[in-house]
Amino acid sequence: MENANILVVDDDKEIASAIEKLLQLEDFQVKKAYNGLEALDIVINHDVDLILLDIMMPKLDGLSTLMKIRESKNIPIIMLSAKSEESDKILGLSMGADDYITKPFQPAELVARVKSQLRRYIFLGDKGKQYNSSQYIIGGLCLDTEAKQLLVDGQETKLTATEYKILELLMTNAGIVFSAENIYQKVWNEDAYAVENTVMVHIRRIREKIEVNPKQPKYLKVVWGIGYKIEKM
């Protein structure tokens, strides 16, 4: 992962430079582009392992560039944008982006996500098509129900028995919302009574382990007023 080649695409020169510096401090090789056309040019002619792509750009905007790149490459692409509506995020992700960061962002988080995506790409690339039916993959998470093991972006992550059970329940039913009572009953095998706090505590601990930014979870989400779920990706 060291020396990976990263392309930063943003029409704001200062921001592009700042990101370049940030990534260089992490020992990445960085190239810059200030619009979609330049970006396509670089992608075709050079080796690129990951792209940070802004949406609002002249000449060719981010989403169109994204589509174009996806025609030939499946390298991880992280969208960067000031547009923070859910709809914008969903649009970007459904068009083929792997992640979405809104501006203004925490530099540390940006770096963490870049690293996470790279690990994930390498891990998935390595594993190739070697899925078996006991493996559940959601984004960078890989849960092996046979080995009772969780890999986050390729790295083995230790979970307690309870944490594992909760995660297994949610991941094997990705997209389905479970109330705290449901989770408690299935995991602890007891009747649920005033369990919200207990379950929430475990959820938070799981988040610490699997999320890049536990305060802004991308995998394990709270459906407020109802329950919890693992986002289907």
């Binding site: 704001d12 940030l22 547009k83 203004p104 925490q106 530099p107 709270v222 459906v223 407020w224």
Partner: protein, 607 residues
Amino acid sequence: MDIKLKKCNRLSVIRGILFFLTVIMLTTAVVLAERAVLQRNLDVLGEEDYKDTFEFNTLVGKTITEIMENDSEIPKTNQNYVYYLSWKDGTVSANVNRSKKEYFKNFSKAYLIYENQEYETSKKEGGIYWGIPFELSKDIDSLYFAFSNELIQEQQQEWESIRKEVTSVLVIIIILLLVSLFFIFVLIYLAGRAPEDEELHLTTMDRVYTDIQILIGGILGAIWTFYSYLWGEAFYSDWENINFQRAIYMGGSAIVTAIVIFLYGLILLSLSRKIKGRIFLKHSLVYLFCYGIYDFIKQLFDGRRFEKFPHTKQLFYKQMVYILASIVQVFLTLIFLMTSSGLFLLPILFELLITYWYIFSNNQIYEDINQGFDASTQEQLKSERMKVDLVTNVSHDLKTPLTSIISYVDLLEKEELTEAAVDYVKILQDKSQRLKKIVEDLFDLSKSTSGNLVLDLEEIDMKKLIQQTTADMEDRILQAGNKLVINLPDHVSKIWADGDKMYRVFQNVIDNALKYAMENTRIYITLQDESNMVLVSVKNIASYEMNFTSNEIVQRFNRGDEARTTEGSGLGLAIAESFTNACGGKLRVFIEGDVFEVRIWFPKKVG
């Protein structure tokens, strides 16, 4: 409170008593009067001398008839009267052995001489006619008649005692009437008053229109008159015999009179209240009708509401002209028709011309109005679009330099720095984070208040939401040090709202409480049912003096801490309120002393 109640009771009691007494007194007066009238003829008050009364006159007629018809049966020793009667056929009947009229004239003060179809009587000038019933007088030649003085005296005495009795009844009646009148004045004076203030209080009865009230009064009067007539009929013949049936009638009459007087009293007081309130005329159907017509006609001619709208104003005046011109044409046509002049065709033709003019000239105005509408709708759409674009563009324009700042401050931190520079960088980081929060809040708020918020409404359990939120905020709560006392019901509390937004709402409200609560005090969160709503309350004790109103603190950028030194953008509560409203709920702040409470209501989701 007690004093008010006492006063209230006293006034009402006094009025009630007066009213009741008045009704009783008037009823009594009326019944007595009726009785007196039926008992005796009215001249009982007028004539002192029995001989001048109608009753005496009747007695005379009766006696004479008796004499003439039953001559043979009358004992000759009758002491009440003496008579000498000679018939035209020559027969004579008498009860004394006298035939000279002087005897009868000197017999008493009540004599009657009928001779040669002429009367000579002792009655005074202008008194009531005494005489023989006309049909009977045809057969008489002459009649000499006189009542005995004893009889006259007897009758006179009786008459006088009756007079006394009747007069005293009359006096009683007058007294009753006077006192009633006085009471009525007092009641009218007091009508509409209440002990607590000087204002006029109208009652439910005053809601009935004046003319209807008067109409009811008229009907009541008719009913009473009818009944009294019936009653009078029953009694007229013989007052002295009170039998059961008559007693019923009497009682009935008294009751009917009492009821009628009672209702009249109510109506009278109602009318007087209305007069006092100056709505006597206004509150009648007649007035309303006339006013309605007046208003309608006024509206027809009043173009003032079109001041700002030149097109509709034109339409209006054109219409007025058309209506008036048409009326004139109709009028002329009628006149011409009535005078059978062929000219009636002229106004008809004219009317057709005017109609043609009216329709065609209006078309242009319709065009103009439509265009105006279109243009205004376009304007609105444009301005709406601009607003949305503004939010998006300014959002982008604010966030971009902010991104640079945060990124470069971060890079700066990674450089070799002097001690002072390290501090400065820390401050820059703090403030840029704060700025970021404010910008984000501002856009959330502007989106939700301009209605551009995308809501994902679904059925959520308020109880769960609160539990989740407080669990999620555990770190923050521990840090602040205040204990959260949470009171949730056993059952679920389902509402229809956007879960994410409501999470924000509670997060903001609880965060607000944590920020501003006094150290070592508790924050109380309760969830309860309130009829068909769900109510959440977050209460805390403020660590500072709250110099603002509930409304002020919810306003954007208003912060309790006037010096604005603590964290926070001032938008927390504004966003909470806006999001709550967007989801269909209500948020209100209540401040009492040092206690700060936020209450949120949501309609319960049924089924």
